[in-house]
Amino acid sequence: MVFLAGIVIGGYLGGSLFLNPEPIDISSSTIETLKNLGITDFSGFVPDEIFSWESLSSPLNLSILIIGGFLVGFGTRYAGGCTSGHAISGLSNLQFASLIAVIGFFIGGLFMTYILYPIIFVS
């Protein structure tokens, strides 16, 4: 819990107090694809269209935040670790289980990106 509080403070220091004013240099091909999916805000860490209190009135955005968060929480415990636990710590300790989990991360991630995104973001 103290560690989590630390992450929030670190997030404030890096993302607010000492924020880099330059926009993040995202690949133009990703920007192009996301524009086609209806994303227009590329200024911050997250697009405003999905991640703002104003956009919560849209049931679609609300369900994206809730379902996405739920899957991350459920999946982390089911798989016994997340990006840092499996992809970084697990792989650096040469754990075969972590390699399977990382393959799982990409099965889910690629399915979401290429199959579900075009269905969710019909613009």
Partner: protein
């Protein structure tokens, strides 16, 4: 946990959160790039973290480094025979990761950066861990 351990945990948390922001891995767009194979950014960060992790684990093992409580650090091997658990759980995590573009650590760093909206996926994630706990005995592992 005594006071000095509390402070150390907090400092490591602050450091971790700061790095998550400055390496831009908390960016939703960076995760999009990664899954679309449009940029080396995330692979470079995770790859170099793995190299540093490997060296650190070797140092910890060779020199018997102790944790904050003074116990020797032992990393329990994961049970690789539970293939279903890692594959299904991992895929669920991946679906969520690509959708909200953040994993557990970055969710809290984003909250700290001023995006109070992140409290919604954080609560949903906590509910997710709870539901897993309830269903655990019924799920294939």
């Amino acid at each position: 946990m005594n006071f000095s351990q509390l402070i150390k945990s907090l400092i490591f948390g602050v450091f971790f959160g700061f790095i998550l922001v400055k390496s831009e891995v908390i960016s939703w767009f960076r995760i999009q790039e990664m899954f679309r194979f449009d940029s080396f950014h995330m692979y470079g960060i995770i790859g170099s973290a793995i190299v540093v992790g490997m060296i650190s684990i070797q140092i910890i093992k060779r020199f018997g480094i102790k944790d904050l409580d003074g116990n020797e650090i032992k990393i329990a091997p994961k049970d690789a025979s539970q293939v279903k658990r890692y594959l299904i759980g991992g895929s669920m995590f991946g679906l969520g990761w690509a959708l909200i573009g953040a994993c557990p650590g970055p969710l809290f760093a984003l909250l700290g950066s001023g995006l109070t909206i992140m409290i919604i996926p954080i609560i949903a994630a906590i509910v997710g861990t709870y539901v897993y706990g309830v269903l655990r005995t019924k799920l294939p592992h």
